[in-house]
Subunit: 362 residues, 2 copies
C-alpha cells in the first residue's frame, strides 16, 4: 500500500495530525513506525472511550507498523491532570498494580500481540533522579504550562493546582524519548502532552514524534468524557447483558455519535443512522450487538439481545398498571421501587433511567 493510501486509512476519525506532512514523510520512508499509546491504570477496567485510540493503533498494526503500548504504572501514581477540573486522588502502588493486572489482557481484545511491544513506564521513570527532574523541568516554563486550558481555568477560578500535576506532561513526554516513538496517539485533551513529548525528543536529538489527536468519547450521560470515576462508562469487561443494556439506555443523538466513533459498519449505514433512515431503537440494537460481539463474541451478543428483549422490551408491552408491594411505597426510594416492580434490573440502572427523564411519577 502506498504512503498516501495508508494515510487515507489512518486519517479516518482523527481530529488532528500534527504535523501531517511529517507523518506522510515517515510513511514514505517505508520503515515500520513505532506508534505509542500510553494508558494509565487508574481504574481496573478499560472502557469504550479507551478503545478509540486502541483501534487506531490496531489500524497501524494492520498496515505493518509497530505498536508500543505503555502501561503507565508510574504516571498513574501522579495522575494525569489533562482535562480535569481538580487534582486527582493519589493512588497507591498496590491500587495501581491491581488495576494494571488485567489491563494487557483487555487491550489484547483489540491489539495484535505479535506486533505489540508492551512496557511499563516505571521501568525508566523509577530510575529518574532529582537531577534528571531538574533538567527536565528546566525545559518548560510556568507560563507555557498555565496557558493550557485546564490549568488556566483552574488557576483563574482559584481551584488549587498541586505542583506535581505540572510534572505530568514532562514525564509523559519523557516516555516518548524512552521508547523513541514516531507517532503518539491521544485524545483531544492530550494535545499539549503530545507536543511536549515531541519537544523533549527533539531536545534529546531524536526526530520529534507526530501527534495523532483522536476524539474523546462522551459517557452514557452524553455530556462528560467517558470515565469510570464519573460512572458514565461502558467497560469492555462489562458482562454482555450490562454492555447491551447500557448501549440501549443512551439518548438518540448520543447513539449517532457512538456509531460515528465506535462502529465499524460501512459508512452508508452510519449515514443512514445519522439521517434517521433507520429507526433509533433498531440502530441502537445494531450498535449494542456489534459492541458486545466485538468484546464477547457473537453468541454472547445474541444472548444479550434476547435477554434485553425478554427482560425489558416484552415486559414493557405487558407493563403492569398496578403493582402491589410488600413494603409501604413511601418508605422506599424511587430507584428501589423501579427495580422492585421490574422496570429495571438494578437500582443503578433505575437511576440511569431517572436521570434520562424516562421515569414520570403520576
Amino acid at each position: 500500500m502506498t504512503a498516501e493510501e495508508q494515510l487515507a486509512i489512518l486519517r479516518r476519525g482523527v481530529v488532528n495530525i500534527v504535523p501531517e506532512d511529517e507523518l506522510l514523510t515517515r510513511l514514505r520512508s517505508g520503515s515500520h513506525l513505532r506508534v505509542k499509546l500510553g494508558v494509565d491504570p487508574t481504574a481496573p477496567d478499560i472502557h469504550l472511550g479507551h478503545t478509540i485510540p486502541i483501534f487506531k493503533l490496531r489500524e497501524f498494526q494492520d498496515l505493518g507498523h509497530q505498536a508500543v503500548l505503555i502501561i503507565g504504572d508510574f504516571t498513574a501514581l501522579i495522575g494525569d491532570p489533562s482535562g480535569r477540573s481538580a487534582t486527582r486522588p493519589v493512588l497507591s502502588r498496590a491500587e495501581v498494580a491491581e488495576n494494571a493486572r488485567t489491563y494487557v489482557a483487555q487491550v489484547f481484545k483489540v491489539l495484535d500481540p505479535a506486533r505489540t511491544e508492551v512496557c511499563h513506564n516505571s521501568e525508566w521513570l523509577s530510575r529518574l533522579t532529582l537531577e534528571d527532574v531538574v533538567r527536565l523541568t528546566g525545559k518548560m516554563t510556568v507560563a507555557r504550562m498555565l496557558e493550557r486550558d485546564d490549568f488556566r481555568r483552574r488557576y483563574t477560578a482559584g481551584t488549587p493546582i498541586a505542583l506535581h500535576e505540572f510534572l505530568y506532561p514532562l514525564v509523559q513526554g519523557y516516555d516518548s524519548v524512552a521508547v523513541r516513538a514516531d507517532v503518539e496517539l491521544g485524545g483531544t485533551d492530550q494535545t499539549f502532552n503530545l507536543m511536549v513529548g515531541r519537544d523533549l525528543q527533539r531536545d534529546a536529538g531524536q526526530p520529534g514524534q507526530v501527534a495523532m489527536v483522536l476524539p474523546l468519547l462522551e459517557g452514557t450521560d452524553g455530556v462528560q468524557k467517558m470515565s469510570k470515576s464519573l460512572g458514565n462508562h461502558i467497560g469492555i469487561t462489562d458482562t454482555p447483558e450490562e454492555m447491551y443494556g447500557k448501549v440501549m439506555s443512551i439518548s438518540d443523538p448520543l447513539m449517532v455519535r457512538y456509531h460515528e466513533l465506535l462502529s465499524t459498519a460501512p459508512e452508508e449505514r452510519i449515514a443512514a443512522v445519522r439521517e434517521g433512515q433507520i429507526h433509533p431503537m433498531e440502530a441502537k440494537k445494531g450498535l449494542a450487538a456489534e459492541l458486545v460481539e466485538r468484546f464477547h463474541g457473537s453468541e454472547a451478543a445474541e444472548q444479550a439481545a434476547r435477554f434485553f428483549e425478554e427482560r425489558f422490551q416484552k415486559r414493557t408491552a405487558h407493563r403492569p398498571t398496578e403493582v402491589r408491594l410488600d413494603t409501604a411505597a413511601d418508605e422506599m426510594g424511587i430507584c428501589q421501587l423501579i427495580k422492585e416492580v421490574g422496570f429495571a434490573p438494578s437500582t443503578s440502572e433505575a437511576r440511569r433511567l431517572v436521570h434520562q427523564g424516562a421515569v414520570r411519577v403520576d
Copy 2:
C-alpha cells in the same frame, strides 16, 4: 544564661523571627538547638553579605548551640530564584565543585569549627527519585508559588519562569527535614523558602523550624543586594588593600548602613556615626580597618590603611593639574585615562569612581 537573655542577644539585627515564641520555648528547653544555614557555592568567594547570617550563626555557637552549615552543592545546580528577576544561568558540577573548594575554609574565618556540622546537600538530594519529587511537589500549589513576590512579578511581566525554579524552595525545605533543623537563618528574600522548610518538617512529623530572617546587605552601589554577579560585592578573600579601598569608596549613607549591619563596635559608636558626630571619612576608615582586621588580621589592616593613604589620599593633595600622555587622549577610554594619571589603582576602581559621580570632565 537564661532563655530570655539568649533571645535578647539573638534578636539583635534581626528582621523577623517566625514564630518568636517558639524560639523562646526551644531555648527554654535547654537543649542545643540545631541552627541551619545553607550557602550555595554559585560563586567562588563568600562576600560580606553572606557574613551577616554567618555571624548570627556564630552567636548561636557562642551560646552553646550547634551550627549546621549546608554547602548547597546540589541546590547550586538548580539556582535559587529568590529575589531574582530572571532565571539563573545553569552551573556545571565542575563549576560548583570548584566554587565549593574553599567555601568551608572561608566560612571558618567566622564560625567555630568545633561546634559546626558541615554537610553537602548532594548527600541526600542526589538520592531523591522522581517518586520522591512527586510526593514533595504534591505538597505545594502553583498558586502559592505564584504568590511569591519575585515569581509574581516575573509572571505578570511575562519574564519566563523555568519550571525547575519552582523546585528550589521545596528542595531547600527538604534540607531542613534531612538535618532536623530547629532554626534556619536566611535573608529577607528567603522568608518563603524558610516557611516551606517549616511546613515540610511538620508534614514529616518533625517540629517545624523557626525562621530567623536577617537583613540583606546592599552592595557597594548602595542599591542592589550584594552579589558577585552584579560586581558590587566585597569578598572576604579580597586582598586587604582591595577590601579597604572598596569600603572607602562607598557613599556616606551606605557607610552608616554597613556600620549597622557589619560592625561589632559598641552601639554608642554606631549611633555617633549615624548622627554624623564622627566625620564620614574617619568613620569609613574605622569600618574599613575593622573589616580588614576581621578577615586578615590587625597587621594587614594597618598596612592597608597606610597603602590607601599614600596611594590615594596624599596623591589627592598633590594632584597634578596637567598630565602629559604618551598616547592620544581621544584614543583612550576615560577609565583607562584615570588609571594612567594615577587617580585610581585600576580601571575597575576608576569605573567605580565614575559611577559614583566622582569624575568630572573639564
